[in-house]
């Protein structure tokens, strides 16, 4: 069952990711990105990370992507639909990206045998509690730092987006 789920989600994710990159209409690519993110969330769920699953949806899909859609609606120009979508270095870039992927695949292929992680360990069934514990005890400092980061980002965004600075 879970295997089926994984392949379903993975396929969905990859397919919509490709669509996201290739669509001409930004809104469409946003929609497909959302689909990818949701699929990823599904993967998380299938990995028994319920909390992360929810966080992914609430934060990424419900927050960040809404922001994206907003901005797209604000900046959307019909002309941009008829412009060239790819920049002048696209072939070089494509090749380089392919090389990079190839390298990673090679690395992967070479290391496939040596990646013997042994038996997977059991997961704490109370995932949320576990995350909370870790977040507020071992990772307290990073947590605070992240909050500071968010604060700064918020202020920055406000200042940027104000009509007249």
């Amino acid at each position: 069952m879970t295997t089926v789920l994984f392949y379903l989600f993975a396929l969905l994710a990859v397919a919509s990711a490709i669509l996201m990159v290739t669509r001409r209409n930004i809104i469409h690519s946003a929609v497909f990105l959302i689909t990818t993110l949701l699929a990823t969330a599904g993967i998380f769920l299938q990995l028994e990370a319920e909390f992360l699953f929810v966080v992914q949806i609430i934060l990424y899909v419900g927050g960040i992507m809404v922001l994206f859609v907003f901005v797209i609606m604000l900046v959307n120009l019909d002309v941009s639909l008829h412009l060239i979508q790819f920049n002048r270095q696209k072939y070089v870039a494509g090749v380089l990206a392919f090389v990079l992927t190839a390298q990673l695949l090679v690395a992967f292929w070479v290391g496939r045998g040596s990646l013997n992680l042994g038996e997977a360990r059991a997961m704490d069934p109370k995932n949320t509690e576990a995350v909370g514990q870790a977040l507020f005890q071992r990772y307290m400092l990073p947590f605070e730092i992240a909050s500071i980061l968010l604060l700064v980002a918020m202020i920055g965004a406000v200042v940027m987006a104000k009509r007249r600075v």
Partner: protein, 107 residues
Amino acid sequence: MPGASVLPMPIDNYLLLSLALFSIGVVGVLTRRNVIVMLMSIELILNAVNINLVAFSRYWGSVDGQIFAIFIITDAAAEAAVALGIILAFFRNRETVLADEMDMLKW
């Protein structure tokens, strides 16, 4: 779902999946002209990383990976907010969101 079940499949699949997403993201960042799409591709890359982290955390049976993922998501949020703010400001001044028209930052 049962807590103590072992990893349903070898971790390679997850790695491959995240690799695929990562590569697609890279392609998007490198080739698209529209800044917003570039940003979205970056989000995609971050996501690929998240998948890796969560997969490994599941494999080690500890939540640390998920914590990192959470931090990455936070990071993505901050980055998106600021970047979109910049884009808006820029769009107001220059009426464009194309990357190769934003080339004042040189010399």
